[in-house]
């Protein structure tokens, strides 16, 4: 796959992936800045407020109208965490030139709109409109509270927060409710001017347009972007393993319990840990899926995620309250099995081909490409999916067991029902 990366200005980079096979083009503009307890809520609120209107299209009605006319172009604001970086901005998607009736060009007007959302927001007396800030602030607080609605997401988030308490990795991408409630239009505007001047800006394009044309469209769209004292990216600090296991239990009115387990990884051999995690709980063929779910019927789901940047593995499962201990023991037993290399050849080869398949098919999805290249840029890495696939192919079984032997239990989170007996 051809990848063209160019620097357009101080701390402004464009990653261009020419492709003709999609019905749409995707364009993304993301600011990358360190995630922090104090700034998280402000940065989470910012793109939502910017999305309310620009100088030229000052309200959602006029913005929607122009997007509809551009054949249903979409511009969504995004708030993501990549390692210990906070990535906020917009992702635009619009139908590719080949399918626009009448041969109208959409890249230029959509780029211009993206630039306006960032550089020329709707303001009054040099500030954001208080009604926009107020409305979106309420939405943000609702979203922070709303994490509770999906108990699986909630339990996963709680585990990370407990495990990485005091580390930026434990900060939620939305920030916390208290800081969100305290944001004023002034404070937000100050955060905005600081961010657009000094944070890294990552631009991304996938579609059929010539890269030169994309570059020109981006230069025009962001010509008004002020730049000064552009900050370096902050790289993610590995999680220091706990000496004693941290245990947290929470009660709520639920019918199904959630068990979350966080593990620290001592090894830095990322491809070995990636494979080890896939074997352990990262696929529908993993030890957790086959044993905890299929064989023992303890859970509807039991899976694990490897946090490459942070050097963690987290396990997430839904269990009956009374099966908590059984599931806990079985999860540790399965980890031990991976560490001791108790497995069939097909398990290892299956895990390897699952990962290779994921890398090989990444180029088939514009959203996955954007997310991948943003993650690479935000964490200061440059490997392509093809290079990562080669690493996975060449990682030996010994390396996997060695790396997995540095994995230790760090934090346990259990969500149980209120009336549940001990």
């Amino acid at each position: 796959m051809e990848v063209i990366r160019t620097q357009l200005a101080d701390g402004v980079y464009l990653t261009c992936l020419p492709a003709r096979k999609f019905k749409t083009s995707l364009l993304s503009a993301q600011f990358v800045t360190p995630v922090g307890e104090k700034t998280a809520a402000v940065y989470a609120l910012l793109p939502a407020v910017l999305r309310r209107g620009t100088m030229r299209y000052p309200d959602m009605g006029s913005l929607s109208a122009v997007l509809d006319r551009l054949y249903g172009a979409q511009i969504d604001y995004t708030v993501r965490k990549k390692g210990e970086s906070h990535c906020i901005g917009f992702v635009a998607s619009f139908i590719d030139d080949a399918f626009v009736p009448g041969g109208e060009k959409l890249l230029e007007p959509v780029s211009a709109l993206l630039g306006e959302l960032i550089c020329a927001p709707a303001t009054r007396n040099g500030r954001f409109l208080p009604e926009y800030v107020e409305g979106e602030r309420i939405n943000l607080v609702d979203a922070i509270r709303g994490v509770l609605n999906d108990k699986r997401d909630y339990a996963d988030l709680r585990l990370l927060r407990e495990m990485c308490a005091g580390e930026p990795y434990g900060v939620s991408r939305f920030g916390d409710e208290k800081s969100a409630e305290k944001i004023t239009p002034q404070k937000l505007y100050a955060g905005y001017t600081e961010l657009i001047a000094s944070a890294r800006l990552e631009l991304f394009y996938s579609g059929s347009a010539d890269p030169k044309r994309v570059e020109q469209a981006m230069l025009n769209a962001f010509s008004a972007l002020p730049r000064k004292q552009v900050r370096e990216l902050r790289l993610t600090e590995p999680h220091p393993a706990r000496q004693a296991i941290k245990r947290v239990t929470e009660e709520m009115d639920v019918t199904q319990g959630k068990l979350g387990m966080g593990f620290a990884c001592g090894s830095r051999d990322t491809s070995a840990l990636l494979l080890g995690n896939t074997l352990f709980g990262g696929s529908s063929n993993s030890k957790l899926f086959l044993n905890v779910r299929e064989k023992l019927s303890l859970c509807y789901y039991a899976s694990s995620v490897y946090h490459r940047q942070k050097g963690l593995i987290t396990v997430s499962s839904g269990v009956e309250f009374e099966n908590f201990q059984k599931a806990y023991d079985e999860i540790l037993l399965q980890l031990k099995a991976v560490q001791e290399g108790q497995m069939e050849d097909w398990e290892l080869e299956g895990a390897r081909s699952t990962l290779m398949n994921a890398y090989a098919s990444m180029g088939d999805s514009q959203a996955r490409l954007e997310n991948f290249y943003l993650g690479q840029a935000a964490t200061g890495q440059s490997d392509s999916p093809e290079e990562l696939a080669v690493e996975v192919r060449e990682t030996s079984a010994e390396r996997i067991f060695e790396a997995m032997n540095t994995v230790t239990l760090d934090t346990v989170y259990f969500l149980k029902g209120k009336e549940a007996a001990e």
């Binding site: 492709a19 003709r20 096979k21 999609f22 019905k23 749409t24 309200d59 959602m60 009605g61 929607s64 109208a65 997007l67 509809d68 006319r69 054949y71 249903g72 172009a73 139908i95 399918f99 409305g135 309420i138 939405n139 609702d142 509270r145 709303g146 509770l148 609605n149 999906d150 108990k151 709520m252 009115d253 639920v254 019918t255 199904q256 696929s283 529908s284 063929n285 086959l290 779910r293 299929e294 019927s297 303890l298 859970c299 509807y300 789901y301 839904g318 269990v319 009956e320 097909w346 299956g350 390897r352 081909s353 699952t354 290779m356 398949n357 090989a360 098919s361 180029g363 088939d364 514009q366």
Partner: protein, 422 residues
């Protein structure tokens, strides 16, 4: 084999019906690494009462979904593992009127397709393996019961429909699945998993001739008889105007549903789907006057949205999200529908919604799964989904108004609420 080229979409579809009645659709996608196969039967959660060998059978709620889980068992072990060994990502889902099995893979496609066709057409279960699944599905049911989105939707369906089997939860209940035995599963497989009741769709860079040859070699030579089904006689009146429950949620959620007149099979079915979708956009879509007004007032937030759904003998439009003022919002939707019927649709607004809907449908063709599922639904209901540009051209503002006048009325409306525990 018949090839149809759809110029406005830049897609081709190869179609062939085997002597055993199996329909095969292949959509070539040069340039993509991923290949996707979807094998589906016209059998889902609502097919609980049907005639087999001249006798009417009543089967337990949730049986189609239960069967889906058990189909992965093979004499040799488990098809999930077989597919995962080749790096394929297999899965399945059961909806009200369909059960679909699928995988995507970049390598070993033909081998994987063989596995898919074999395990879905050859049932293998024992009383023990069937009993064991009770635990897993029981946990799945508990998990969805804790999910407010599922609760609010299911309760809305039960308020909208009095007798139609579409009101039954696809997974059934803890009680209903206890009645499922290996014998009932075999009976249902025999009735519905015959080639003449199924369709295979393959999307990706494959040779259509190979796909057809493989299906011919692996699947049974003969199809089965048409199975008469009884979905229940559904009156035009709703079952209940309002339903509410309290759950562990942060903000109140609501869904308002409208019971609509169902469509006949054939291109009318697609036409109604297009009209229903456009009505949603015009009445309450992101750029509709109603949405903008309610959003500005803080009565709704980004979670608000609507959809139009159809299944055999049923059609309904619904909308909702988080709102502290659910009843006000529901009343505003009705008022806006009445206003549109009275005053008509602004021609400029209609034109841009039409453009945006076209773009949205085209965007859907980026997704292999979406292509396969729409070809499958089209086959089951006798229309060609890739004819959507022509159907769009034939729909006019008056059609939307007629739909609003006939369906979006006070008497067809229900309200489902989930409130936080106090």
């Amino acid at each position: 084999m018949r090839e149809t080229f759809y110029e406005k979409l830049g897609e081709s579809v190869y179609r062939e019906t085997l002597p055993n009645g199996l329909m095969i659709c292949v959509v070539p996608k040069p340039g993509y690494a991923k290949k996707y196969a979807f094998f589906a039967t016209r059998y889902g959660g609502m097919d609980v009462r049907f005639q087999l060998n001249g006798r009417w059978l009543d089967t337990p709620a949730g049986i189609a979904h239960y069967l889906e889980h058990k189909m992965f068992d093979t004499k040799e072990g488990n098809a999930l593992q077989e597919l995962a060994k080749n790096g394929a990502e297999p899965n399945a889902f059961t909806s009200n009127a369909m059960t679909g099995y699928y995988f995507d893979s970049t390598d070993h496609f033909e081998e994987n397709l063989k596995i898919l066709l074999s395990f879905v057409s050859i049932p293998y279960f024992t009383e023990e393996s069937v009993a064991k699944e009770q635990g897993i599905i029981g946990q799945e049911i508990r998990m969805i019961e804790d999910n407010p989105d599922w609760q609010i939707y299911t309760r809305m369906m039960q308020a909208l429909y009095q007798r139609s089997t579409g009101r039954i939860s696809v997974a059934g209940s803890i009680e209903s699945i206890r009645e499922i035995t290996a014998q009932t599963l075999y009976d249902c497989h025999k009735a519905f998993y015959t080639p003449s009741n199924m369709i295979l769709t393959v999307v990706g860079d494959v040779d259509p001739v190979h796909v057809v040859d493989l299906a011919r070699r692996i699947l049974p030579r003969e199809g089965g008889p048409v199975i008469p089904r009884d979905y229940g006689e559904e009156p035009a009146e709703v079952a209940k105007k309002e339903t509410a429950a309290r759950m562990e949620v942060s903000t109140p959620q609501f869904l308002t549903g409208y019971k609509c007149a169902p469509a006949a099979e054939g291109e009318d079915y697609l036409r109604l789907a297009v009209i229903g979708d456009m009505t949603c956009d015009i009445l309450l879509g992101d750029s509709s006057p109603l949405y903008l007004r309610l959003y500005d007032k803080g009565l709704i937030n980004g979670s608000f949205g609507g959809a139009f759904e159809m299944m055999p003998g049923m059609a309904y439009l619904y909308a909702g999200g988080d709102s502290k003022e659910a009843k006000t919002v529901a009343a505003e939707i009705q008022k806006e529908a009445d206003r549109l019927v009275r005053e008509g649709i602004d021609p400029d607004f209609y034109e841009r919604v039409r453009r945006a809907s076209f773009g949205e449908n085209l965007r859907g063709l980026n997704s292999f799964e979406n292509i396969a599922v729409s070809l499958t639904e089209g086959y089951f209901h006798g229309y060609d989904p890739f004819r959507f540009p022509q159907v769009f051209d034939a729909v006019a503002s008056e059609d939307i108004l007629r739909f609003l006048r006939e369906n979006i009325t006070e008497e067809h409306a229900v309200l489902s609420l989930i409130l936080p525990r106090t």
